[in-house]
Symmetry: C3
């Protein structure tokens, strides 16, 4: 199975081009669209989305992610091999999904080598169709990355800075994702379940509950989202709008 | 074949998470995305959408629908077994598709039992990934709902009130759906074809014709939509905008 | 493999209805969604999108395209048979993809004949579900178009006027597509690579480079897009907004 996560949008030919190019190389590939609507060029958001899918995918799944503002410049195209695979630009996109993969080795894709498998020119603007998609299709077909890449040190790949920080009893947390419902997801996991969550920048104390429906419509709460990160939500409303925050913003938070 | 109808939106990981979770349980499942863009929490709209797909699906199709504002609270998760299957929250979502299914029996899904098949914790906010998707995958794989649910009376399930009412020669109809083109679909079927349709609240008399292209651009008409319900449309325009109506609104209509 | 390109939008049941109807006729069909978000009724945009997908598809692929403002009126429904297939309304949609197909013959689909395969009524508003989808599913299953259509002259099909014109050393070009990123694609291919591209209507001289990342953020450039047409872009910005142009607009351009 190959999953696809991109910021191509759903309007044009790009997603379709990538898929037919992959199926041309591997006609039996099972391709699962995760999303093609990651906020444009948002590598952190793409990394969060890929992490959630890796957590629930079976062993051997190949995850292709293309959020690639640096396409055509120096950035490397890489394959991370482990109990699951990541095929991504080396720009930090792998950071969060990597936490859930037993990494064996990493390969830099060599454009000239992959062209031998695809048979068409590599454009300077659409590596999803010309490099990443085909690499995913080849791996899922059983062709080892060595045949179109060279091994590179695992610790040489680019990582985003998404670790939570603590100053005294106050967490400095980052908004790593805002979903379609306006729920705000912060980069804190494996925390001891609090009764109350204090948002110091907003002078707000929120009840920490199990699900949205346990507060009145329009009320704000904190909860353990389905992704195991700390989530701020408004029942049948948008916490992101209420707090006026976006991906990458920092919040001072105290768990009580 | 398993169809998916949700209000998850296309931006985040949710649709992808649900699909990889289903394919992990049933790698050969053929999953068809109907839509993930039902208006958020609109159970009536979701029910209309699922009805149209059930009408054209082959026997044995499993339809998973997740429009679930009450996730994590008391509402039941149910499987409706018949010549086709519905796997939905028991909140009225089944109302319209049920009209086209020869129901054999209904089961309430028991979370602890389905966990034995999935192998992961059930979150309190994402039952699409943890309960509904897996249940659909198990049924399509040939596992009977009895193995993860208990039978409940067919007439105990929640139904929406979508029957058209008549006062004298005036129909009191409800807007049950507005499509991407702004066409307004009303809850009247199997009616005798009129020459004219009168919208009393708007003092409008519309020609009843077979298709959009038979009136000038920008003109309003009534027609037998492709879904067999009475439809109000504007040729290459939006009737919903022109009439300023939304799903759930009531209209007084006379067929002449 | 069957690709789908439509302007149905992703909100309603229409895409799902078309797919389950196709899978009912051909349960093993591999259906690839190219896009369902072509700008409503934009035949030129749909033609551009289908062209890009045809260029990268394997032989034998069946491309179903439904951008169909004239549904239910006189316009023909056609199948173009060649090393790949097009199943489209005869309204010009085939113009650009046709450039990449070795055409053998063209058939007009006969509604009554296709009904024998589908088994349901043909609506006057939804030929995607009732004619085009089923025709694609039948062809991919190996059923020849002769069994549900009659042959018509290849040169009788409708063509859009998308040839670039030249007046002296000035090209009169047409905007044939604007992607989700706001990149503006013009109808000029196979041109000699210039150093500079002059947009006479905007008194602008743009560098002609290989990729977006080679100019500063917010700067405009010209480049050979991944589709081989001349493209005008703004690095991490929208050229369409900057130039305030839309599909179909004409621009005077000089290559220097």
């Amino acid at each position: 199975m190959i999953t696809l996560t991109t910021d191509f949008g759903l309007k044009g030919p790009y997603v379709g081009e990538m898929k037919v190019a992959m199926l041309r190389i591997n006609p039996n590939a099972k391709i699962v669209d995760v999303t093609h609507s990651v906020t444009r060029h948002s590598i952190l958001e793409g990394s969060f989305v890929m992490e959630q899918v890796v957590k629930y995918s079976p062993k051997g799944t190949v995850h292709v992610g293309v959020i690639d503002p640096g396409v055509g410049t120096e950035r490397r195209a890489i394959v991370i091999e482990g109990d699951q695979y990541l095929v991504v630009p080396d720009n930090g996109l792998a950071t969060l999904p990597l936490k859930h993969i037993k990494v064996k080795s990493v390969y830099e894709i060599i454009p000239d080598k992959i062209r031998k498998f695809t048979g068409w020119e590599i454009s300077s603007t659409f590596h999803g169709r010309d490099i990443f998609g085909p690499a995913g299709a080849l791996i899922e077909k059983g062709i080892h990355p060595e045949e179109f890449g060279r091994e590179i040190p695992v610790d040489s790949i680019v990582k985003l800075n998404v670790e939570p920080r603590k100053e005294g009893d106050v967490w400095i947390l980052k908004v790593i994702y805002i979903d379609d419902f306006g729920n705000v997801i912060l980069n804190l996991e494996n925390y001891e379940k609090p009764r109350t969550v204090e948002l110091l920048d907003f002078n707000l104390r929120l009840p920490y509950l199990e699900t949205y429906g346990l507060v009145e419509k329009g009320e704000m709460l904190a909860l353990p989202g389905s992704h195991d990160y700390l989530e701020i939500a408004v029942n049948m409303g948008s916490a992101a709008e209420r707090l006026n925050v976006k991906v990458g913003d920092e919040l001072r938070v105290r768990l009580l």
